[in-house]
């Protein structure tokens, strides 16, 4: 069953991460680039993408970094997780409160196939493929 951690709707290409990523220490808050050298997606940007990962990782500061990415306009368009993560949820919720940004976060076991994906944080579902 899918569930929503943060509201809003976004359409974007997925960036599927092969390993969990700590936004703090792992993403440059000014650019959205993944800066953790040992991460498989090192050098790619989360900006404007549906970031897909199994679960969050590491620092509890990741909420601040996610909010800062969204404030600067270089945050993910949406986040899709396999397991709930309140650290990412609160980052998106606070950015929405402060700046009116939209970054839906949906937890789902489903794989919607090739992109672009529609991530619906109001209805708690993800659609992909031949749109």
């Amino acid at each position: 069953m899918s569930r929503s951690l943060a509201p809003g709707v976004a359409v974007a290409e997925p960036l599927v991460l092969d390993e969990p990523l700590s936004f703090w220490g792992g993403v440059d808050p000014a650019t959205g680039l993944i800066v953790e050298p040992s991460h498989p997606q090192y050098g790619e940007s989360v900006a404007g993408r549906v970031v897909v990962m199994p679960h969050g990782r590491g620092s509890s500061s990741s909420s601040s970094v996610l909010a800062e990415l969204l404030r600067q306009g270089v945050g993910p368009a949406a986040i899709v997780l396999r397991e709930p993560d309140s650290i990412l949820a609160i980052g998106a919720l606070v950015a929405a409160e402060l700046y009116g940004t939209v970054c839906p976060i949906v937890v789902t076991a489903e794989d919607p196939g090739p992109g672009p994906w529609v991530v619906d944080g109001d209805g708690a579902f993800v659609l992909g493929g031949q749109l």
Partner: protein, 411 residues
């Protein structure tokens, strides 16, 4: 989700705008997590006082403007600045100014200016069964695992929401069920390896990668050798490589007198960690070039026990490379009263308080490897500081610093 009358009053704005915003966010997260209701917490620890950008400052200042005042005793994590040794900061002055404003905002809400990532080293700390709301990944895993207090992983923002309301969603590690082990990691190591403090960092790193968000049960630690400081290093590494918020160590941690207790009769997937697995963890954390650049220890903050040990190791000697030690102002005060600070500083070592060398520009350019005994520092330093890391025991870090070249002695 069932809300109490008082929760509803907070949500309706009857206790001020800051409390209203905090409760709105708590309820949103609680609903997302399917929490049945909220519960009281008796203490908070705030991670959000560390500056990561304007968003965090905007949020804190909005809470202050909304009359925010913490409802429970609340301590503060490290910040970006060392207020006792401000001359150590080498970063951008504008960032320092914003970071200072952030610190002031949290103090204005009634938080105690403890500025430490190791609140479990303070005079008061929570005990078995206490419900708390702590931020900072290493503090969270220590509170749950070593103290038996109960906290979920409170990220920045949710930490202060909990402190302002004294409430959190009743889910996860706050519940009996959520604290049971999900997987077992059996150690198949040589006994002498448990005498080496580096082993604990490596176990933590490996366990974090195996466990992810789950609660691992470690079998094979020795209660006499798994000291609090070693468990601190283990937990901090596991919370860096994974999202581990709690571990059990059978016969060592308070909720795991036996494997059966730790698992609560549930099925658990079984893993093992042998010497090869430990070597792999070492290769992931420690990739030295062999040329010693600097030493940094105390991530998480050094305890008084560790500072005494450091003083014993360095007494009458002089470091040949830059050597930094992170600790809290409270532990620093104790160490100063004991004469420990004097001994350490006489060896040419810089004590850093209120912050940490891995998150703020203090060390300047490190030419060569950064040597440390911290699994957490080893994990984050390559990305945060752009350095190569050599992981070694405190004694080897000291010996290397005093000789000016890297010495790693076999255990």
């Amino acid at each position: 989700m069932d809300l109490s009358d008082r929760d509803r009053e907070m949500l309706a704005g009857g206790m001020g705008e800051a409390v209203q915003l905090a409760m709105r966010l708590l309820v949103a997260v609680g609903r997302a997590e399917d929490a049945p209701h909220l519960i009281d917490v008796i203490a908070g620890h705030i991670d959000a006082c560390l500056f990561h950008g304007v968003a965090g400052l905007d949020f804190a200042e909005r809470l202050v403007a909304g009359g925010g005042e913490v409802a429970v005793p609340t301590t503060l994590n490290v910040s970006s600045l060392d207020l006792i040794h401000p001359e150590l900061y080498r970063g951008d002055p504008e960032t320092a100014r914003l970071a200072r404003r952030l610190m002031d905002a949290y103090v204005a809400m009634g938080c105690r200016p403890t500025w430490t990532c190791a609140p479990y080293q303070l005079a008061w700390r929570p005990g078995l069964g206490d419900q708390i709301a702590w931020g900072e990944s290493n503090a969270i895993v220590f509170a749950n695992s070593v103290l038996g207090a109960r906290t979920n992983r409170y990220g920045d923002f949710l930490d202060i929401c909990a402190a302002l309301t004294g409430r959190v969603p009743y889910t996860g590690l706050h519940t009996d069920e959520g604290r049971l082990g999900d997987l077992v990691v059996e150690l198949r190591l040589e006994d002498r390896m448990l005498d080496d403090e580096v082993t604990y960092a490596l176990i933590g790193h490996a366990v974090g990668r195996i466990a992810g968000v789950d609660v691992p049960v470690i079998v094979g630690l020795d209660p006499l050798r798994a000291t609090e400081d070693r468990l601190k290093n283990l937990g901090a590494a596991a919370a860096s490589s994974g999202a581990v918020a709690m571990f059990h160590a059978v016969g060592v941690t308070p909720e795991a007198p036996t494997l059966e207790h730790a698992l609560g009769g549930r099925d658990a997937r079984a893993h093992f960690l042998d010497v090869e697995g430990l070597d792999e963890a070492r290769r992931q954390l420690s990739r030295p070039t062999g040329e010693l650049g600097a030493v940094s220890v105390g991530t998480p903050h050094m305890s008084i026990t560790e500072l005494r040990e450091l003083a014993r190791l360095v007494e009458g000697r002089k470091t040949k490379v830059p050597f930094y030690v992170n600790t809290s102002r409270d532990v620093h005060a104790t160490a100063e009263a004991e004469g420990v600070v004097e001994v350490i500083e006489a060896a040419g070592i810089r004590l850093v308080t209120d912050t940490c060398t891995y998150i703020t520009p203090i060390m300047g350019d490190v030419r060569g490897d950064l040597m440390t005994n911290s699994g957490k520092l080893a994990f984050y330093a390559p990305a945060n500081l752009g350095v190569t890391v050599a992981l070694a025991s405190l004694a080897d870090c000291v010996e290397s610093a005093m000789r000016g070249e890297m010495v790693v002695r076999a255990k």
